[in-house]
Structure formats: structure tokens, C-alpha cells
């Protein structure tokens, strides 16, 4: 459990979230990270899901958010803090200790972490 949202950067400058053993774009191992948790991103697309699996809030509004970092775009998927979302909206990550109930789903609770970031709209102007 850590209160960071880390994109992984390879020596060729490609950014990815989540990180992988090698960069999906060029096959080189990532050597650095960029914390996105203090940055603002833009909603690329979103949906409100009204038929959710066990242990997941209902409705569950999700967005794909694009962050621009040094001329590179990295995308993150996640829950939003409100169902009132629009494409193109500016959002910022907000830390949440538990995104869904680890006991209710099919995944073993010890197999992964359950904390993370929701996206909260940033007031414009």
C-alpha cells in the first residue's frame, strides 16, 4: 500500500501505467517512475456501470484519464468521485484505501492490493 500513482518510464522516454517488465512501445526495461498523484489529467472517455460485480459500488462510474508529462501521454483507468463526469474534463487523483471489498470478489484478497486513486473533477476558472 503506497500513496503514489506511479507511471513507469523507459530510457526512450515512453511512459506507461501500470509498469511492465519491458516497455510495451520499445521493449526496453523501464528505469524510472513518475508520480501522477499530484498532477491533473483529462477525461478521455467515461461510463457509469449499473450492473457491478460483488463488492463493487453501484453505480460505478469509471474514466480513462490522460496525463501529459514532458510531451508524453500516459493513460490511467479508475473510478471517479462523482457520477457527473464529462469527456474533456480536468480531474485530479484522490487516494482511497479500499476501492472494492477484497472479500467479495473471485480474486484472492492477498493476490493484489485494493487501494488506489479515484478521479475528482477540478473546478475550472
Amino acid at each position: 500500500m503506497s500513496e503514489t500513482l506511479l507511471a513507469h518510464r523507459c530510457p526512450n522516454g515512453h511512459l506507461h501505467y501500470p509498469g511492465h517488465r519491458v516497455c510495451p512501445d520499445c521493449g526496453v526495461s523501464p528505469t524510472g517512475t513518475v508520480d501522477l498523484s499530484n498532477r491533473e489529467g483529462t477525461v478521455r472517455t467515461w461510463t457509469t456501470n449499473t450492473a457491478t460485480p460483488p463488492g463493487v459500488r453501484e453505480p460505478n462510474t469509471l474514466a480513462i484519464v490522460a496525463f501529459e508529462v514532458d510531451g508524453q501521454t500516459v493513460q490511467v483507468v479508475g473510478q471517479t468521485t462523482t457520477d457527473d463526469v464529462e469527456t474533456g474534463q480536468r480531474v485530479r487523483p484522490v487516494y482511497v484505501e479500499r476501492l472494492r471489498d477484497p472479500e467479495a470478489g473471485i480474486r484472492h484478497r492477498e493476490s493484489q492490493d485494493w487501494d488506489g486513486y479515484r478521479f475528482e473533477p477540478v473546478e475550472s476558472g
Binding site: R44, V77, G78
Partner: protein
């Protein structure tokens, strides 16, 4: 070595009392009954299935099926490629014959799903997602909602065009006696159905289904020994895309579809213009657009226009999902890719009844995950 499919069979799709092994046995036996040879000639038997352990606590289904059908000591294996298990099974069965390892291969795909709740079934399927997706409650329907919004906004497509996919496929399914839904729906019904993953509604989604489908493969040069009417596997290719769906640069392009389609058509020495009939993986209405475009059956961003113009209806220039598709026929995960080929087999051998179209070359695209793994198959009428 050229490979032929010499028999095809499928159970009724829908809510079935039978458990998985019974469903597999029904389709497998039906397929064996159609060929003019002793079943002991079967050398390999593959089962396409995603999640028998998760759905009903049954493992080892391929071996169990071989024993039930009297195929022992045939070699067996289960093929799992999530929703594309059926297409992956066709690939495996084709390989077994093309390589010379087997002279007669039975492929049976199946899934038993309806005994668990919709929420549990959604969770079993969502277990294929990346950790960073799963913990947010991301499901396959939510990917469809995210992608449909991106598509409609990017290409300025009307919401009605997605509804038209459902209307078309229900019309086709109404003529398929094995389809889960054998009723037509109108555009208003689709557009007024409850929201599931905004902007998509209930009628944009395929149902949860029990069922099984089977095919029998042999060297093309032996096909006439088993049957008068057969089809040949002219091209087959699989490809993958990223595990985490949001990592793809362009959300309206499925690279696994593009790659597998291009390779399968190249192998078949054919192209999009030569395809007479297609079975596409319409788990969600939006997927029909993405596959038409990824396969080159429509220009990027324009599939919605072709659907609105009726080009993909049964009486159109390129009939898509004459079976009713996953939308109307149903989607028993492991059975689906096999059932797509069953429909093409029937179309290409002229036994599709009320759904019959004029076709010599057919294409099936079977999509696993949300485009995570894809198999495309090109079949031609053998005679």
C-alpha cells in the same frame, strides 16, 4: 497440409438444465453422428472452455469428454483463451491436422453459466482483467461503455447506429432455432432499455448463456471419405493486444483484430472485398463496428454508416452475424468461437435454412477479453 471441416453441430443455446459435460457430450455426439466413419478414428479431441472450474467446480473436462464419447485413448487438451477459447480451439484443431499429428480431430466448445448470478458471472469474466483494472471494479461491459462513448464522440456517430446492430442480429436470431432469443426487437426497445454501462443499454449486451458447439477436422484430401459437403480452413491466425485496455493509444482500434484478420486473409490469399458472410464477436453492439473496421470490411470510423444503410443485413451486400450473433444466439464463452464456425459451415454448405445467404467465403472473428486475444478464421465451401 490443407485442412477440412467435415461435420458441425451445436446444442440449443440458452438456459439449460444440463451441466457442462452433458452439454459437451450432446454437441460432440451430434457431430460424430454426422460423419460416415467409426469414432475410434478420432485421434485428437480438444475442448474449448474458459472457466468450468470457476462456474461449476469441474476440471479435466477434455479427458472426461473423451471417455464419455468413447474416444479413449485419443489425445485430449482443454483450450482456454477466455471468450476466444472457441477460435483458439479451431486454431489448435487446425494445427493438429495441418501438422500431420492427427488425421481426425474433434473440437467441442462449451460453457455452463446461467446457474450463477449475473454479478458472479460478470466477476468470473472480469477476473481476466489487470490488477489495476480489477480493483476499480472494471468489467467487460464497462470497457464496452468506455469504448462506445469514445467511438460515438470521435466519429460523430448516432446512438441509433448501435441499436441497429441489435435490431439486425435479433432479426437474424429469430430465424435460428438454436438461438437463445428467437424474437425481433425494434430500435425503440433497444434505446429505451435500462442503462447498463452508459451510453450502452441492456439490449446492447449479449445474454448469459449455456451451450455447446462442435466441429470435426481432417486433411482436405480425406474429406470426401467422411461427407459430400465440407468446408476448408483457408486461413487462420491469432493475435494479442495489451492486457490493460486503457494502455492502448487509440481506444476505437483493436490491434488484435487488425493483426489476426490481416494474417488470416493473407494466408487465405483473399481480402475484405472477397468475404461473402461474416460472423463477428458482438458481445456488445460496439464490437461489431470495431471488428468491421479492424478487418477492413469498413473504413475506420465508418462501420456505423454501413450498418445504418443495411449493408450488413441478411439481404445486404455483406451479411454479418446471420446466426443472430452473440447478441441473439447467446454467448456460452467457450462455445462461441466454435458456434461461429458452425454457422459458416452451414452457410457455405447450403444448409442454413431460412438464414441461408449466397456465400462461398466466410470469415469468423472471435474476440477474448476486450480485444486482448483474437482469432480470425477464413473458411471456403469445399464443393
Amino acid at each position: 497440409m490443407a485442412v477440412a471441416i467435415v461435420a458441425a453441430n451445436m446444442t440449443e443455446f440458452g438456459q439449460r438444465e444440463s451441466w457442462l459435460l452433458e452439454l459437451l457430450t450432446e454437441a460432440g455426439e451430434g457431430c460424430l453422428q454426422e460423419m460416415a466413419a467409426d469414432r475410434t478414428a478420432v485421434e485428437h479431441c480438444y475442448v474449448s472452455n474458459m472457466a468450468s472450474g470457476e462456474f461449476e467446480g469441474q476440471t479435466g473436462v477434455a479427458n472426461a469428454l473423451a471417455a464419455e464419447l468413447g474416444l479413449v485413448p485419443a489425445y485430449t487438451a482443454r483450450v482456454d483463451q477466455t471468450s476466444a477459447s472457441g477460435g483458439a480451439g479451431i486454431y489448435t484443431a487446425w494445427q493438429s491436422v495441418a501438422s500431420g499429428a492427427s488425421e481426425l480431430t474433434l473440437l467441442v466448445g462449451g460453457e455452463k453459466m446461467t446457474h450463477v448470478s449475473t454479478a458472479e458471472s460478470t466477476d468470473i469474466i472480469a477476473s481476466l482483467t489487470h490488477d489495476v483494472e480489477y480493483k476499480h471494479g472494471v468489467t467487460l461491459p464497462s470497457f464496452a461503455g468506455l469504448t462506445a462513448r469514445a467511438y460515438l464522440e470521435r466519429y460523430d456517430a448516432p446512438r441509433e447506429s448501435l441499436a441497429e446492430v441489435a435490431v439486425k442480429n435479433h432479426a437474424n436470431g429469430s430465424l435460428n432455432p438454436r438461438a437463445q432469443f428467437q424474437k425481433t426487437v425494434d430500435r425503440e426497445t433497444v434505446l429505451e432499455s435500462p442503462v447498463v454501462a452508459d451510453p450502452l443499454r441492456l439490449y446492447d449486451f449479449c445474454p448469459i448463456t449455456d451451450g455447446s458447439a462442435a466441429l470435426l477436422f481432417c486433411p482436405a484430401e480425406d474429406a470426401a471419405e467422411y461427407t459430400d459437403e465440407y468446408v476448408t480452413v483457408e486461413g487462420i491466425a491469432g493475435a494479442t493486444d495489451s492486457h490493460a485496455v486503457h494502455q492502448r493509444t487509440e481506444p476505437t482500434v483493436m490491434n488484435g483484430v487488425v493483426e489476426s484478420g490481416a494474417h488470416a486473409m493473407e494466408q487465405a490469399d483473399t481480402g475484405p472485398a472477397e468475404i461473402d458472410v461474416a460472423e463477428l464477436h458482438d458481445m456488445f453492439t460496439i464490437l461489431e463496428f470495431l471488428q468491421m473496421e479492424g478487418l477492413g470490411l469498413a473504413p475506420q470510423g465508418r462501420a456505423w454508416e454501413q450498418v445504418m444503410e443495411g449493408r450488413t443485413r441478411r439481404d445486404g451486400e455483406l451479411p454479418v452475424n446471420t446466426s443472430g450473433g452473440l447478441k441473439s444466439k447467446g454467448h456460452p464463452l467457450g462455445a462461441t468461437g466454435v458456434a461461429q464456425a458452425v454457422e459458416l459451415y452451414e452457410q457455405l454448405t447450403g444448409v442454413a435454412g431460412d438464414r441461408q445467404v449466397d456465400a462461398e467465403t466466410g470469415l469468423a472473428c472471435n474476440v477474448g477479453g476486450f480485444g486482448n486475444c483474437v482469432t480470425t478464421t477464413v473458411l471456403e465451401g469445399g464443393r
